[in-house]
């Protein structure tokens, strides 16, 4: 069966390369593919490319380029930050705080720590997904050493008040990590202003290459490395640096710095259009905040519709049902369950996510595909008591 061309509305899962990033990748691959650690002119050329990329990323998020550790992505950054800090600072206390609605790459790391004698407080969000700073503060204890709260939720687009949380942590000398995989390069992020100690990011969420991410670590924050071998990156993360991917991330950062405002403006328009087009459908509900959510994500549930059939009926629309990174699991999203949705509501949830290359036509296609899928499936269903 020949499938029609996909209409891609799964930007929260991963984005296409920006053309400027693609050009940069090619350029570095052919002219500076050397090992930046090599002690010869070619190696030093690659080292300069890496340093430039650090400067670009540093400029985007307002951090000292020297505070950047290159990783393979936000998953690795989260692991390094949370495992590395918790173990290194075990003497400061064994209590950790995070949210139930974090990405698996945070949740599973804390679960692993729980098995090794750390105690984790799992905070619940309010009904729209936000963490209330007072609830947060109440969870802190004398032996709380580390907090991890994401900036933008990957399923609902809800934005946490990182500044307020950061202030509370700083006042109590608690280390604060932020998973900003869905934020860096997509919304303005100023790490220094935010009082954040560690922040994770990944290039492929903001039109950069896959397989490269970063963790920025405030000066003076000691981490236990999670990988061993070689002296690269001050021993924090060994392995030959992928100079092309790093350069690509740098270019993606530079492009983002130029485009963020325009991108956001367009996304607000697209999200409004999409939500206006489907909110009138009987039984549709918005998962996430009515106001102030990240405009590139719209998550909706609909009453009495089976999620898997909905997904198939939407083809060739490419959208997500759970967290993009975990859609192999068939369980209803734990993030939506934590927002108070029933299993049945959660399993019908569709996350539309869009970005720089999305057009109004894509959105209009999505609206009509969603409307007709819902009405088709409803027409097939028997009444509740047939």
């Amino acid at each position: 069966m020949i499938s029609p061309a996909p209409i891609y509305l799964d930007y929260a899962a991963t984005t296409p390369l920006d053309s400027r990033v693609a050009d940069r990748l090619r350029d570095v691959q052919s002219s500076a593919y050397f090992n930046p650690a090599s002690n010869h002119i070619a190696g030093r050329q690659s080292a300069r490319v890496v340093a430039e990329a650090a400067t670009s990323l540093g400029a985007l998020i307002n951090v000292d380029p020297a505070s950047i550790i290159w990783t393979s992505g936000a998953t690795e950054s989260n692991n390094l930050a949370i495992l590395g800090a918790a173990k290194q600072r075990a003497h400061c206390g064994r209590h950790l705080v995070t949210m139930r609605t974090e990405h698996k790459a945070v949740v599973d790391v804390f679960r692993a720590l729980e098995k090794t004698g750390f105690e984790v407080t799992w905070l619940s969000p309010g009904p729209e997904g936000q963490l209330d700073p007072e609830t947060f503060e109440a969870a802190l204890r004398d032996d709380t050493q580390l907090v991890s709260i994401m900036k933008i939720n990957n399923e609902t687009g809800v934005v946490q008040d990182i500044e307020a949380i950061g202030r509370i942590c700083r006042a109590r000398n608690i280390l604060f990590h932020v998973d900003a995989a869905q934020a860096v390069g997509k919304v303005p992020v100023d790490v220094s202003a935010l009082q954040v100690d560690m922040m994770s990011m990944t290039a492929h969420k903001f039109y950069g290459p896959k397989g490269i991410g970063a963790l920025c670590v405030a000066n003076g924050t000691a981490l236990e490395p999670q990988m061993f071998g070689g002296g690269q990156q001050k021993r924090m993360r060994p392995g030959t640096l992928p100079v092309d991917l790093i350069a690509g991330l740098g270019t993606a950062a530079t492009v983002a710095a130029q485009c963020i405002d325009d991108d956001l403006c367009k996304l607000v328009m697209l999200k409004d259009r999409l939500w206006s087009g489907i909110r009138g459908i009987d039984g549709v509900r918005l998962n996430g905040p009515e106001q102030g959510g990240y405009p590139g994500i719209l998550n909706v549930s609909v009453e009495d519709i089976e999620g898997e059939s909905l997904l198939l009926a939407l083809e060739p629309l490419c959208v997500a049902t759970g967290s993009a990174c975990n859609s192999q699991s068939q369980e209803p999203s734990y993030v939506l369950r934590a927002l108070g949705l029933s299993d049945q509501e959660a399993q019908s949830a569709i996350r539309f996510s869009f970005g720089r290359q999305t057009t109004v036509e894509d959105i209009d296609f999505a609206i009509s595909a969603y409307r007709s899928a819902v009405s088709k499936l409803r027409s097939l269903a028997p009444g509740i008591a047939a």
């Binding site: 069966m1 009495d304 089976e306 898997e308 059939s309 198939l312 009926a313 192999q328 049945q344 499936l377 027409s379 097939l380 269903a381 028997p382 509740i384 047939a386």
Partner: protein, 126 residues
């Protein structure tokens, strides 16, 4: 991670469920379990399933299995319903094993339909 989740038969049935709907005043089988709901209705004349229709709430495999069932049994004697085989449907639709339970809901609905037809036949016309 890799395989196509639906084979061509499932995709075809899902896209064109020609037997979706109801037979007005027909015999009705209904079953619900595990959140799934299936309703079958049949017009039976001289012991033959003249028309079969389904309504269902479930995943694409369930919907396609219902359509496949209707296509297969329309025109056959109602007594054939007793021999309904989930195994063949599962094979033809390449239903993943972890969904076996869902196809058993169809089996239960078919049984319920058979019973309804039986009841109609047994009930002496008044």
């Amino acid at each position: 991670m890799i395989g196509e989740p639906y084979n061509d038969v499932v995709r075809e049935h899902f896209a064109h469920p020609g037997h979706a709907g109801d037979v007005p005043d027909g015999a009705i089988g209904y079953f619900e379990d595990q959140g799934l709901r299936i309703r079958l209705s049949a017009e039976v004349a001289a012991g033959v399933l003249n028309r079969l229709r389904f309504r269902a709430w479930g995943c694409p495999h369930v919907l396609a299995a219902c359509e496949e069932f209707c296509r297969r049994y329309e025109g056959r004697p109602a007594t054939d319903l007793e021999e309904f085989e989930t195994a063949r449907i599962m094979e033809d639709l390449a239903v993943p094993v972890e969904k076996t339970g869902r196809i058993l809901v169809l089996e239960d609905t078919v049984r319920s339909l058979g019973q309804a037809i039986q009841d109609l036949t047994d009930t002496p016309r008044e």
